[in-house]
């Protein structure tokens, strides 16, 4: 692939300063992003964060107040939904209850005026991809939830859209089915090679399915990055708190060097192995994930590690791990998760005094 093509692929979908206002309230507020060809891009956020509005603007059900959407360099935001080469899998699937599986999948193809033989071929292909050949003559109510989901996917893929939109694709399934379906869905999308924007409020779904995730709140992107980046190096309190569990210590920046910094908090002085662009004395927050904290009954010998003392408040044993709430001298409670890699791991009980320690590299300094 030459450089020119790679350039075009990178900006396959380009959202440029997109804003949608309802009654002066901005549901989507000046959002810009580029999505590469073949990428699965997840919009993750709690309800009302604007992710659905953004998706509906991509589909064409909402008209942007400002900004433009480009698909392969062409503006599409003024096109009617029925003219866009974009198809959507709806949250409740929106399968037409009066049509059979076959007719549901062929629905969009018939609107295109595709020749009959070709429609049959395409529907056949879709049925093979989603493994629903046995059920062609059934109506939606005669299918289980998982089967309905696959019909909805086949119907959205049948027109070979340039962009596939998934609105909470697994939201209507029960927890057990969700896990298997997640992988299956990702496989199908990757095999077909379609570019995909997915909206979800479930972080596990976003993490496992997406190549890249955008965390949304109040109509804006808070952070865009690979799942790994979002979890390990959140860029603000909101993202750190939203994804996974986290312990946050508020304090002040007391020392700032290019490759390390020191943050003084009421709970202790913490060494962090990355620099911060800021002034000494500014208020910052230090974040540490529960699984990065080690517990021991004696003081750690390695003085380069950050260490504080506390008392166990609650202990919950989950088999593979234990979760502890530890109260520090300042009264602050810290969540600690200990993976049991050995059968003889130390177990702590309520009121046990403990040492908590973690590596400088496990910390992230957040400035907002």
């Amino acid at each position: 692939m030459n450089a020119r093509n790679a350039q075009a692929d990178a900006g396959f979908v380009r959202i440029d300063r997109l804003t949608k206002r309802f009654d002066d309230v901005a549901a989507v507020d000046n959002v810009s992003i580029e999505i590469a060809k073949g990428e699965i891009f997840a919009l993750l956020g709690s309800s009302g964060c604007g992710k659905s509005t953004l998706l509906r603007m991509l589909a064409g059900f909402e008209t942007p107040s400002e900004g433009t959407i480009y698909l392969e360099g062409q503006p599409v935001s003024a096109m009617q939904p029925y003219n866009r080469p974009i198809n959507m899998m709806f949250q409740s699937y929106a399968l037409f209850p009066h049509l059979t599986v076959w007719d549901n999948i062929a629905f969009g193809l018939k609107r295109e005026g595709m020749p009959k033989a070709q429609i049959e071929e395409r529907v056949e292909e879709m049925l093979r991809i989603v493994q629903l050949k046995k059920f062609v003559k059934r109506k939606p109510h005669q299918l289980s939830g998982g089967q309905q989901q696959r019909v909805a996917l086949a119907r959205a893929l049948a027109k070979r859209p340039k962009l596939l939109l998934l609105d909470e694709p697994l939201g209507a399934l029960d927890a057990k089915l969700r896990e298997e379906t997640q992988m299956e869905l990702k496989n199908i999308i990757k095999n077909v090679g379609v570019t995909c924007v997915l909206v979800t409020h479930d972080q596990d779904e976003a993490m496992t399915m997406a190549d890249r995730i955008a965390i949304m709140s109040e109509g804006r992107f808070r952070q865009v990055g690979l799942p790994f980046e979002i979890y390990e190096t959140p860029n603000c309190r909101f993202v750190a708190d939203f994804i996974g569990k986290v312990n946050l210590f508020d304090g002040a920046l007391t020392e700032d060097a290019p490759d390390y910094c020191v943050v003084t908090t009421p709970e202790g002085v913490f060494y962090v192995n990355h620099g911060v662009t800021g002034t000494e004395g500014m208020d910052v927050t230090v974040a540490v994930r529960p699984e990065k904290i080690g517990l021991s009954s004696s003081a750690p010998t390695d003085t380069s590690r950050n260490a504080v003392t506390g008392t166990i408040v609650t202990n919950s044993y989950y088999g593979s791990a234990s979760i502890y709430h530890v109260q520090l001298a300042t009264g602050k409670r810290v969540l600690v998760s200990c993976e049991h890699s050995s059968r003889h791991d130390e177990h702590f009980q309520r009121d046990d005094p403990v040492w908590l320690c973690w590596e400088p590299e496990s910390l992230v300094v957040l400035r907002s």
Binding site: P75, S77, A78, M79, Q80
Partner: protein, 302 residues
């Protein structure tokens, strides 16, 4: 380019929108608003049959507007009309009260019936809607007549020796109204009560309420909206009822609908009939406005 396509698209969508809204709107204005304005206008005219004397005239550069309040003044001063309005309200209120008294327990026991039986019970309540209302009212003539079934039965058993006059009395009027309007009370109450969470009653019992107390403290307050809706559905149309008072009511049971009818068909006094109609609308509007205000208030609470 894109702006042009958008405008064309908007216009194309707009065409559908104007049809969907415009056609029924026009129909309603022509067959509802304008006719009512005609009534309103005629109510300010004199009693000269079917002619429409103009209320406004333009002479000598001055716009003259004549409003003849004679009909309204007559309405306000004549005892007969005041009495008629009052007695219409009275019968409507009695009807509503009785429908509630019979219909509430009825709806409640329907809801407490086995789930499998409920559709059948519900259908049996709404079934009479599909048979002629006129014929059902007529049936009471046969039942309540001096030589009717009930009198015949009572005399045959020997409880009475002479027939009791039931037809063309307040009694037959009320029976006919309750009979006609009872389903209108039961259906909204049922659909309200059926949504109630039965665990609330269990919770009340758990907290020390007896069944009657739980009913009074939990069920009744929660079904307030159903009670109001049912009462409106019964009260409002029964104020203007014509068929039931004509077929079952006595000569002294004054009902406004019947007076309007007589004013129009027997006395041929169209302006007077119009004034009666306008006053009747105002009479009905009052509870509706109160109801709407109440609804928007409670709507705001939730």
């Amino acid at each position: 380019m894109s702006a042009v396509t958008r405008i064309v698209g908007d216009l194309r969508q707009g065409w559908g929108r104007y049809t969907v809204i415009g056609v029924p709107y026009l129909f309603l204005i022509v067959l509802f608003t304008i006719p009512f304005l005609v009534v309103l206008r005629l109510s300010f005219s004199q009693a000269d049959g079917a002619s429409f004397a103009d209320l406004t005239s333009y002479t000598d550069g001055i716009l003259h507007i004549q409003i003849k309040l004679a009909n309204y003044i007559y309405l306000a001063t004549d005892d007969l009309y005041a009495e008629t309005y009052l007695s219409s309200l009275k019968f409507a209120a009695i009807n509503t009260g009785l429908c509630l008294f019979i219909g509430y327990p009825f709806a409640y026991f329907m809801v407490r019936s086995p789930v499998s039986m409920r559709p059948a019970l519900l259908m049996l309540v709404s079934l009479p809607f599909w048979t002629s209302f006129l014929l059902r009212v007529y049936a009471w003539q046969g039942l309540l007549d001096d030589e009717g079934i009930i009198n015949g039965l009572l005399m045959w058993v020997g409880i009475i020796e002479e027939p009791i006059q039931m037809l063309r009395t307040s009694f037959s009027l009320i029976v006919g109204m309750v009979y006609t309007y009872l389903p209108f009370m039961i259906l909204p109450l049922y659909s309200n009560l059926v949504k109630m969470d039965m665990r609330l009653l269990e919770a009340a019992k758990d907290l020390g309420c007896g069944p009657l107390k739980a009913f009074w403290l939990i069920t009744v307050p929660l079904s307030k909206n159903g009670i109001i809706a049912g009462s409106m559905l019964v009260f409002i149309p029964s104020v203007g009822e014509y068929v039931i008072p004509t077929l079952l009511g006595g000569p002294d049971n004054l009902m406004i609908g019947r007076v309007l009818w007589d004013e129009f068909f027997a006395n041929n006094d169209w302006p007077m009939a119009s004034s009666v109609a306008v006053t009747m609308v105002l009479l009905i509007l009052a509870p509706l406005v109160i109801f709407n205000r109440y609804q928007s208030q409670t709507g705001g609470d939730r």
